[in-house]
Symmetry: C2
Subunit: 657 residues, 2 copies
């Protein structure tokens, strides 16, 4: 358009006509858009997309013979059938090494997490046998190390303690744990089968960071019991109750041996980790340090008979394979609903941890695990786990990192680990009799710093203040109230954020970028210049609806009035606003309240002798405006772009040519 001045003046009229025709044609494009898909059609599409697997593999197989169909179905459910064909001895060597490293870290951690879940130590070991084996044949993530984890163990005990005291009635408490595990597995499998994975997204990244940090603090506080050898402890998890319990126990005579033993081995583990981080080749030191600590401390206690001097020890651990526990599941009684609710929370938290760690490792290796298959695999491993004396298992942050560093190639490392745990259950449980409880506490404590990500907290603060609010909301909720309240706070703040941003949208005033036909926000682009006599607004929301339509309308009306008052002092006749253009490019949808507001705005502008024009409306918006006859009411002033709206409204003067 800028080059039109160079063309002979005789052609100007022709050009103007051509331009007018062009403008008319383009406006027709907007107004003659086909009807958008209706609500039912959209719902159907959404359901189809949600339930059918991507690429519709099942559908495309319809014409193939039955056996091939079955084979393909099996391959879908058990990915191991696909990759095991290319599995070679060199890969197995790596997996064997990774699996053994993993087992050396897993055994002490499992025993520790079982005590955190208020179960007998062997239940932690059981949980490191069956779930990893099932995940190995069903899972799609290669590096995930399956087993008990700290946060889930804490959640389990903190929520189930309210229903049954594990000290008073350990068997009935264990029944509740197994039933909850079953429910968690059912929910996880259902999420995967019905493709409800988006439910896991409701815990935002920021709130997970805050939640994990809070959980680490709470877990650390719980370890004070083992580390200080306190007998009478609180069942609550918040910082105030725990510190009160610790202070109260300070009045009782206490034994410093536990503390000294725990702290010295904690320092040992932390130093090995530091060394492992400085020198990547020493990462195995970090992995086996807990096992070394257990062996050394057990030997020390055994040789010095320190248990007679007040050092608390693990005592008897049941050996042997996982006992069947189907008969322990309880589906009657008044607690079932509550157990299902706890199962749901555990399912979501467990999936969140596993998916977060699985995805971050997979993205380093450059592949993409299938979220829905992952959920089905975790669901089945927990359902089968609940039949074989396991509690809720998931992918562990710390052990998955070790597995990855140890160079694992496939889920075979999980199989190796499970077999190693089985062997220890059969042979070595008796050797753990003299293991001091303070060592278990220090092993758990040593895994906690990995849950606190201060760097990410700083990032969140820098990038998004409202995200930070969700993050510290979750943190303080977990630390000062309870784990559940922390989760609730995180979800509430996150959704409140969405609603607040939707109901209080800004309206921005647009100006023309020099040398272009583009109209941009004048604050974002200081080079943009406003055109006198015309006001261009853009609504900063995807939805003009009951909750924000009046706000937007009043804001625009006030702006128009102020602009005219402001101009009054200058040459009024020429400069007063005559056209208001609404750039609707960011508006995806509008409802009846929104249309009513636009009609009020139009009446207001009309009674003040101004024109209202609409530029670049989206599909649904233009359709609804047409249906509501709003397009007719504003005289069909709907245009493809802001500049065309301007040209058309100011055309008698041809101001912009």
């Amino acid at each position: 358009m800028a080059s039109s001045a160079a063309i002979g003046s005789s052609n100007v009229q022709e050009l103007l006509d051509l331009k007018q025709n062009n403008l008319n044609e383009r406006a027709r494009w907007v107004l003659d858009a086909p009807e958008p898909p209706g609500l039912w059609h959209e719902l159907l599409d959404c359901a189809k997309e949600t339930i059918l697997p991507p690429g519709n593999k099942f559908l495309s197989l319809r014409n193939e013979p039955g056996t091939k169909q079955v084979a393909s179905l099996f391959q879908e459910i058990f990915p191991i059938l696909v990759w095991c064909r290319n599995y070679k001895a060199t890969k197995f060597k790596n997996d064997l090494l990774a699996g053994l490293t993993l087992a050396s870290l897993c055994i002490p951690q499992s025993i520790g997490y079982a005590t955190l879940a208020k179960l007998d130590p062997q239940y932690g070991l059981y949980t490191s046998v069956v779930p990893p084996l099932i995940y190995a044949i069903m899972g799609t993530s290669r590096e995930l190390a399956i087993g008990p984890v700290a946060v889930v163990s804490l959640l389990l005990s903190s929520m189930l303690q309210k229903l049954e005291d594990p000290m008073v009635n350990p068997i009935s408490y264990r029944n509740l744990v197994l039933t909850t595990t079953f429910f968690a597995g059912v929910f996880q499998a259902a999420f995967g089968l019905f493709r409800l994975g988006f439910l896991v997204d409701f815990l935002s990244h920021a709130s997970i960071v805050g939640f994990m940090a809070g959980a680490a603090i709470v877990i650390g506080l719980q370890q004070l019991k083992g580390l200080l050898g306190i007998t009478h402890f609180t069942n609550k998890t918040d910082i105030v109750s725990v510190l009160k319990a610790v202070l109260k126990s300070a009045h009782h005579p206490w034994n410093p041996h536990n503390f000294i033993l725990g702290c010295s081995f904690l320092s040992f583990i932390l130093i090995t980790r530091f060394l492992g981080r400085r020198n990547k080749k020493l990462f195995w030191l970090r992995a086996i340090a807990p096992l070394i600590s257990v062996i050394l401390s057990t030997l020390i206690v055994f040789l010095t008979r320190a248990d007679k001097h007040g050092v608390k020890i693990v005592k008897h651990i049941n050996g042997g394979l996982n006992p069947i526990s189907v008969h322990e599941l309880q589906f009657h009684g008044q607690n079932v609903g509550e157990l299902a609710r706890i199962g749901l929370i555990l399912a979501v938290v467990a999936l969140t941890e596993a998916i977060a760690v699985g995805r971050s490792i997979a993205s380093i290796k450059g592949y993409h695990p299938d979220g829905n298959k992952e959920m089905v695999a975790m669901g089945f491993m927990n359902i089968v786990g609940s039949f074989t004396s396991c509690y809720v298992a998931t992918g562990s942050f710390s052990r998955s990192a070790v597995n990855f560093s140890a160079g694992c190639e496939s889920t075979v490392s999980n199989i190796v680990m499970a077999i190693t745990v089985v062997i220890s259950l059969e042979l070595f449980t008796r050797l753990l009799y003299y293991t001091p409880i303070a060592i278990l506490a220090s092993i758990i404590l040593s895994a906690l710093p990995g849950l606190i990500d201060l760097h990410e907290v700083r990032n969140i603060w820098k990038i998004d203040k409202l995200d930070f609010l969700a993050c510290i909301g979750a943190f303080f909720g977990v630390v000062f109230a309870s784990v559940e309240i922390g989760l609730l706070a995180a979800v509430t703040i996150s959704f409140a954020k969405i609603i607040i941003l939707s109901i209080r949208p800004g309206v921005e005033s647009l100006g023309r970028l020099p040398g272009t036909d583009l109209f941009c926000h004048v604050n974002q682009y200081p080079v943009a210049v406003k055109t006198p006599g015309i006001l261009i607004f853009r609504i900063k929301s995807a939805l003009l609806c009951f909750a924000n339509a009046n706000f937007v309308r009043e804001r625009i009306m006030r702006w128009v009035v102020e602009e005219n008052n402001h101009e009054e002092s200058e040459e009024k006749a020429q400069r007063t606003t005559r056209v208001v253009v609404l750039d609707m490019s960011s508006l995806m949808n509008i409802d009846t309240s929104g249309i009513a507001s636009l009609e009020e705005l139009h009446k207001f502008l009309d009674s003040n002798r101004m024109q209202l024009a609409i530029a670049s409306p989206r599909w649904k918006v233009i359709d609804k405006l047409r249906l509501a006859k709003f397009v007719d009411k504003i005289g069909g002033k709907v245009f493809l772009t802001v500049v065309e709206a301007m040209d058309a409204c100011l055309s008698p003067k041809m101001a912009t040519i």
Copy 2:
């Protein structure tokens, strides 16, 4: 750009260089945007805008002398001081006529609505005295007729009956009503003073339509008691309970006189209304028909002594002016919290009705009432009302329409009406002794059709199916459960709609409109053509956040994979997608989860040897992407428009020139 072919080939290189420079400069505009205002700044701005009146009249007065400041403040609070200076005798003549017409409709309605609120009839008349007078000096809407209304009366009795039975303990019930009225007034005034008017917006247009229709049905059902002369009736309002009560009473002996009397006068009122609608000059017939019915029926009963034959009559009505009721307010006891809650609900519903009717009449007359001043006026009139034996008053749909048709010019018509009611309270209450209750029922029934707007329901269905859901949700909630549940359903569905639309945004694929540099949705504009080798997506949401980021990422990844598979059959080398452009023009904000998703998308595309470019990001989005170093990660490929992104990414071939 299209004209470049006409220019000599020697200049092509120069032009290309120039274009490249231009592109670079424009990309710099995007990247060098100033920092957007922080959260604190935005909160401050929002608070300032919310609390300070528009135009900052108070602030601009600072330099003026004190007396003028006070005068201006008074004019702000009492708009009557401004307009009464130009008030002329001709205007008063119109207002007098309108006020008298209004009074003739108001007196029978007030008595009827008082019985609906389970109060003695005189309380309806009291409510038609003080609130209209106060509104007349403080309100900004000229046509609003203030007094008791059907929906508020129903809400009041249905919610307070649960706390105290009006049959058993009428005095204590009245105390509750007055206290609730006080709370409602306080909330309304607070909404206005703190500019919280947006809270009223939370009842969407569609849900108000449904709610009002449901309330009309429920009110109509309640009138069956008076119309059939039933003694034992239910306290519940849902259709099932009421019909049960009616059926049960059918077994008792009942008196058909009530029914015949009520129905015949109901027909009379409806016929006069029909005539008034056909012939605009007969509108006064509609206005005085209720009064004529009362007078005629009272005469009939008095002359025939029908009350001795089972026709129920009003009996004694206390005459005289509003008694002071300050001592009846109760601010102690366990019910205060509940009363405040009910007061809040009533405040919102009353404001919703008044604002809806005030705004719609004002927009016909071409002025705009000040929402916040309206709320303050209504708040004060209800607070003072609660001190003078009035219950919650607001602007009535039916009477405001009559006031408008009668040609009122200002709130003086409300004053005339109030004075007329005072005169009747002083002189005529004794004459109402024989007024049959069935007539009151038929007067209420005759006002109900105005609350049911089937035409608007059809419109809502046509325009927005989700709005329709909120509408019928409110309707069925009110009719089948209770008024509160109906309101709750409406608000819940409306907000669920916002959340659903935010968390399930579509992603649309864009194509170039022929002859332009514009890229539009290929389904909306069938003329748009896709460019081979490049995929352009636009996210249909204002917020890329935790709840939708993964969904969007997976959808784009799937689309990219499908597109490449599809192209595989054709000449692959040339046509495979090499660039993915994200048009971020509709994205207003992004959070840390959203950025994490974009990073995953980038890694995925990178490992598949595709480039990711970003076009026209908004202010906050580009700022956050810069802070999170995402701009560096994608090699600074951020552009002002889609076409520039395309040109830059395909530049080695200069494909588009």
